[in-house]
């Protein structure tokens, strides 16, 4: 019995369990005296029948507690400085839910109400990339986790840390009949264990504290990934027992220093880079922190080497003279050394693949080109899901974090440099700067094609959006759908938070919640969060726009509304032509028409300012400007634009 006269459910459970065991023993004894085959229910009337197990009546007894386990769980979340926990409410975590909003005063973490678990996770995914630290997600037992699973997979593929807290009810005798059984599971993490880094099922509150701190540490160690802690309902709801209270402590969190590349491999890489005539640096998920971009700029400028930014993170300023992201294949054809930094697919970077009836591939580099890979991905790989891509035949492979390795590589390059090479680098740099300027001019000229077209060209869409935000402190939090990459080609990105990469696993439905999650991270910094929203992506879980309205998350989104799952149209067309049946029916199952979807009306119904659909390009700029005015007041806004396919 707890003080205040409140019932200590755990003590109660203990006594109930002992009583229950005794009863079972009694029943067994009774059954042994009875006919073995006879069911207990038809035991002879003369035999001593154990009473059917019943819960003791609580009538007139103490029925409250002022210190449930969930309160301590909140202490742990607060100690980890988790700002938000996103969730669609579920009874399997009702204990910690109540502790967050009452005991924790709904602050750090603040409960973010979501309409789908996929949205909760994708929000946390994008938040983490903008803010540089994990966000927590609560998911309901079984069905909530099932809803969340695709988004967890995206985060896993994208090597992004987030903390998944999953409700569950372990003690079968304490489950409410019906739904709670359907939502309980022996091993909750089993359904996502292939694509999380670590999980645990704490049996006590001290265990919860230790495992949650450990989970945070593991998630933040490159390669970063989601982790999961399963929360037993009893542990959340039961009073903290007197026996446990002295053992409650939150362990110190010390993040693991990211692994750096082997010194010998770093020196050899530096030698190759310094002596190369045409080195190429390619970065994908390199920049974990703002330091990542600064270090890559330093290395590139030291070598006057071109950089191809594949866009997994904000790796390199888009209009830096050495940014040659627009000229990848020509660079690779002439390269003698290729340095890949956290490449998702090294093989696919240096090889082309043709998706025709007979699939074929060929190298894009010349024979003898030295390939160097630095990636933390080599440190942790699983077998079932195949996101690891084809095996790359590189010359130097460092299983290390690129951002952490760059300082030693920069120093090694400095040591290996000679005056002659420095002169050669300067000449190379001038040539590259000229190429970069020419490429930018070509990009602008290309954007002029179909400038006045209706549906609106994707170049016009992105140019109109940029024109409205370019003098603000902006952050492009999400770009779903495919705009032919115009934003990355036309806009000046030079801050670490201005780009957050993609979904990772290409699981569609990421774009909308990622935009809201990224905007949530930007909110306290006062940045203008913008998103280019694909229409097909939007329809997976549009309820996240209600979340944005409810929590007053400022976000300016323009719909890239090409009225189709456009990529699938092309795939079906490809099949139709390959099978010599034509493409005239390729719209079946791939387009979003008849009726067209009115996205402005959808979000308006959720309390969001909206305009559109807009088909006239000349109406676009003023509409975006009006939407920006709303966003500046701290609210979300959406402008629906009917667009060209790409």
């Amino acid at each position: 019995m707890a003080k205040n006269g409140s019932v200590d459910r755990r003590d109660f459970l203990k006594s109930a369990a002992v009583t229950g065991a005794a009863l079972v023993g009694g029943a067994t004894g009774a059954a042994a005296q009875a006919t073995p085959q006879a069911p207990a229910a038809v035991a002879p009337a003369s035999a001593p029948v154990a009473p059917r197990e019943t819960d003791p009546s609580l009538e007139g007894d103490i029925v409250t507690t002022d210190r449930p386990g969930g309160d301590f769980m909140v202490d742990v979340l607060k100690a980890l400085n988790l700002e938000y926990v996103a969730a669609n409410p579920g009874s399997s975590f009702r204990g910690i839910h109540e502790s967050i909003i009452n005991y924790g005063n709904n602050t750090a973490p603040e409960f973010i109400t979501c309409c789908h678990e996929e949205s909760s996770v994708a929000m946390a995914h994008a938040y983490s990339k903008i803010e540089g630290k994990p966000m927590a997600v609560l998911v309901h037992g079984t069905v909530g986790l099932q809803h969340a699973s695709m988004a967890i997979y995206n985060a896993y593929c994208d090597r992004v840390p987030l903390i998944v807290l999953a409700g569950n009810s372990l003690d079968a005798t304490m489950r409410r009949p019906g739904v709670e059984w359907a939502h309980s599971v022996q091993d909750a993490a089993a359904m996502v264990r292939d694509y999380i880094k670590w999980d645990d099922l704490p049996w006590s509150l001290p265990h919860f504290a230790e495992s949650t701190v450990r989970a945070y540490k593991i998630a933040m160690t490159p390669p970063m990934m989601p982790v999961m802690i399963v929360l037993d309902g009893g542990l959340q709801e039961d009073p903290i027992s007197e026996e446990v209270k002295p053992r409650l402590r939150i362990p110190k969190l010390t993040l693991t220093a990211p692994p750096q590349g082997d010194a010998g491999a770093v020196a050899e890489t530096a030698r190759l880079l310094v002596n190369a005539q045409n080195p190429v640096i390619i970065a994908d998920r390199l920049a974990r922190t703002p330091a990542g971009m600064a270090r890559l700029v330093e290395l590139a400028e030291l070598l006057q080497a071109p950089v191809i930014d594949q866009g997994g993170r904000m790796n390199f300023p888009s209009q830096h003279p050495l940014n040659m992201s627009n000229g990848g294949r020509a660079l690779l054809a002439n390269a003698d050394v290729v340095l890949g930094l956290e490449l998702t697919d090294f093989w696919g970077t240096v090889d082309s693949f043709r998706d025709s009836l007979v699939r074929s591939s060929r190298p894009l580099t010349k024979p003898g080109t030295k390939l160097v890979s630095i990636t933390a991905g080599d440190l942790y790989m699983k077998g079932n899901y195949q996101d690891f891509q084809r095996y790359p035949e590189v010359d130097i492979a460092m299983a290390a974090d690129s951002e952490a390795t760059l300082p030693s590589l920069i120093e090694a390059v400095k040591r290996a440099m000679t005056a002659d090479r420095k002169t050669a680098f300067e000449a190379r740099g001038k040539k590259l700067a000229e190429q970069h300027a020419n490429a930018l001019d070509r990009t602008r000229s290309d954007a002029a094609y179909a400038w006045d077209a209706s549906p609106v060209s994707t170049a016009r869409l992105t140019a109109e959006l940029y024109n409205v935000i370019k003098n603000e402190d902006w952050s492009l939090v999400s770009a779903s759908g495919n705009t032919s990459n115009w934003e990355r080609r036309l806009w000046k990105f030079d801050k670490s938070y201005q780009w957050a990469g993609g979904s990772g696993g290409a699981g569609v439905g990421y774009g909308a919640p990622a935009a809201v999650g990224g905007a949530l991270a930007n909110k306290k910094h006062g940045r203008i969060s913008v998103a280019i929203q694909g229409d097909g992506d939007f329809m997976y879980a549009p309820g996240v726009w209600w979340t944005a309205a409810h929590h007053k998350i400022p976000l300016l989104a323009v719909m890239h509304n090409n009225r189709a799952y456009h990529q699938e149209v092309m795939h079906v067309q490809r099949m139709g032509n390959r099978h010599n049946r034509g493409v005239t029916r390729a719209h079946i199952g791939t387009t979003l028409e008849d009726p067209f979807i009115n996205y402005a009306q959808i979000v308006k119904g959720m309390g969001v300012y909206s305009e559109g659909p807009i088909s006239n390009p000349n109406e676009l700029g003023p509409a975006i400007k009006r939407a920006l005015d709303v966003v500046k007041k701290g609210e979300p806004a959406l402008v629906d634009v009917v667009t060209q396919p790409r």
Binding site: A448, N482, G507, R646
Partner: protein
């Protein structure tokens, strides 16, 4: 399955967009066929060509105005020479799916080529403030 398709395309795009963009630029440059070389092209029906450009799904990769994008290069206003065009559509050497005679008649391709030739040149980029 849909997501799998999307993965293949979107992921390929994500990784290769910089390269694809390089190709698009190069291809666009190669397509600047001088008017003199188009003199042998049959007249065709440009208005019908525009309709066919949509109904055969060409716009899905190349855009409604054949302006090009990440999925397919720019085709207009100065398309590749007629003979080369007719040959490439039947036997493409890159990612484009083949369009056989069973799917698109020669006369229809002629109309599409006429549509491409008839597309207006874009406005001068220096006169578009947003692109300066």
């Amino acid at each position: 399955m849909k997501n799998q398709f999307l993965f293949t395309f979107a992921f390929g795009w994500a990784l290769a967009v910089v390269f694809a963009w390089g190709i698009a630029v190069a291809s666009a440059a190669q397509q600047q066929t001088a008017p003199a070389q188009q003199q042998n092209a049959p007249a065709g029906n440009a208005a019908n060509g525009r309709k066919l450009f949509v109904s055969f799904g060409c716009y899905q990769c190349h855009g409604y105005e054949a302006q090009g994008g990440s999925a397919g290069p720019r085709l207009a206003p100065r398309p590749i020479a007629y003979a080369q065009f007719m040959k490439y559509v039947r036997h493409p050497t890159n990612e484009m799916p083949p369009f056989t005679e069973k799917i698109v008649k020669d006369s229809e391709l002629t109309d599409i080529h006429a549509f491409l030739r008839a597309q207006p040149v874009p406005p001068d980029v220096d006169k578009i403030p947003l692109l300066k």
